[in-house]
Amino acid sequence: MKQIIPKITFWRVVAVIIIVAGLYSTYLRFTGGLGASTHLSDEFPWGLWIGFDILVGVGLAAGGFTICAITHIFNIEKYKPLARPAILTAFLGYLLVIFGLMYDLGKPYNIWHAIIYWNPRSVMFEVAWCVMLYTTVLFLEFLPIALEKFKMKKLLAFMKKVGIPIMITGVILSTLHQSSLGSLFLIVPQKMYPLWYSSLLPVYFFISAVGAGLTMVIFEAYLSARAFNKGIEADLLSRIGLYSVIVLMLGLVIKLIDFAFTDKFHLLFTINNYTLLFYLEILVGTLVPFGLLIQKRIRENRRWLYASAIMVISGFLLNRLNVSITSITTEAGLTYFPSIYEISVTLMLVTVGMWAFKIIAKNFPVFSTETHFENHNYELEEKVSESKA
């Protein structure tokens, strides 16, 4: 007999609680406004929903374009098994970013105004367009997976033809807006604590997104392996882990060189909460994972690789929150800490994302061994089997 009522497990109970709390916060947000649901204020107009839902959300979805570039533009084909889950993660990530934006925007029903009212001087305008276009690109990149499922061969063949230009567009759009999320803060030099303000913010945002996006691929592969009882591409993932920490280390080196040029080293020896959070961010996000994954023995150990990925992701999260919240100083010296409603909406978004990934991965050929954007080459296979015979 088919089981209709799902089994009650610990994580399912947690998920239900999170969703119910999130829905209640949603009700508060859309009936009472931002004032009733958040701790935002005139002094602190941006909070968790920008810092996490947008900055972290977009950043961690960077695995999609990075893996696509590796496999389909640089043609390093052995990584192709990672492409589909990475694309799905990115696609869901961007949909959730847009969904989350609906909570944060004061007038979400005006979101389409970005299409008709242009202001090319605004970084936010550029980000809005890139996110719109890149989400479309991600949809097109995901489309072949759906077409395969429904066996729509003609469309699939067409998608194969336009696949490369689409992916190149995707990489360019990602490069632009991943860095531009950092550029958003270029305009507040006098409001940010100097440990985080730099004219290189767009470069840091891009580099850290590439690094953390790659570890997100590891994180997602491990979760999938657990959820679907499937094996993992241990060899590929440990290499991805290595590349990720090398990229992140490069980012840190650039940051230190920038510190030298802008005379900021003394800040590292000024002990205050800013410095402590900065150290925490680079230790957890870069130095410790680098120290671990640079060793072959450790990165080939599943548990250590997984733990390192979680560290990188946590460090990345802390970095984005530090840039967007910690570093912002106000006249009155006010601080901001998100309300339980803000936190519960964010948790709901994460839960919905994981749940959607699971449902889609279950029903679509996401872990298929067939490589993305390429049909089976039936001719070649026949020839091979003939020659064998």
């Binding site: 004032g35 005139d42 640089f74 970005a114 550029e126 550029s183 270029l186 507040v188 767009p202």
Partner: protein, 259 residues
Amino acid sequence: MIKQKAILFDVTLCAGCGECYNACKQANNLPETSDDFLKDHLSANTYTVVEEYGDVYARKMCMHCVDPTCVSVCPVGAMEKTELGPVIYDGEKCLGCRYCMQACPHHIPRYEWSKVNPKVTKCIMCYDRVKNGEQTACAEVCPTGATLFGDRDELIKIAQERLASDPDTYYQHIYGLEEAGGTNVLVISPVPFDQLGFAANLPKEALPTYTAKALEKIPGVVAGGGVFLAAMYWLTKRKNQIAAEEKQNKIKSISGDEK
């Protein structure tokens, strides 16, 4: 060219009577927000305040920057720098992203946090009046002449004359002449401006130049990135093909040897 209008506020002349505060409330149909105007602060219902600093008073309101940060950051152009000088806001266009609030160097824009259809609020230098050749409500009612309305270049001249003619009274600086590219609200004072709560650490450049430096790189990234990625695709594809052909040739030659 149309002459830009501006406001000159002279701290030495302000008596702290609050007429400007009341006139602003009236002109903008704003509800009462405080029993004591000296203790009130800028909010969705208060566009200007008079603050007490020891024995002097300072007004706070939108500075109407020459190259406003809020105008440059707004993704939909809801903030506009008019030819006449006032920076105005169109709530119909606004998305509510609050980037203007985050970016404003003078901490001015406020938000209707408790509304479901919220707007950004701030002084718009009585744009409707100014458009019709009138002066702002606050300047009109000021009994001491502490708030003057006029052409920006003329007000600058007046400020310079006052500073020069009475160097003992005035701190020798016109706030708003150069701060973040200059503002259409100018302030002169007997004490340094950070003591009156004005943002003192502002660069001379207009802040939008900071993001312009990043934005102007976009065409290069698009063109360069496109060429680079297409070239890499072609090269790596070709490399893989050659490798595959060589492999096949090897297999052929081996199987040929066997025959």
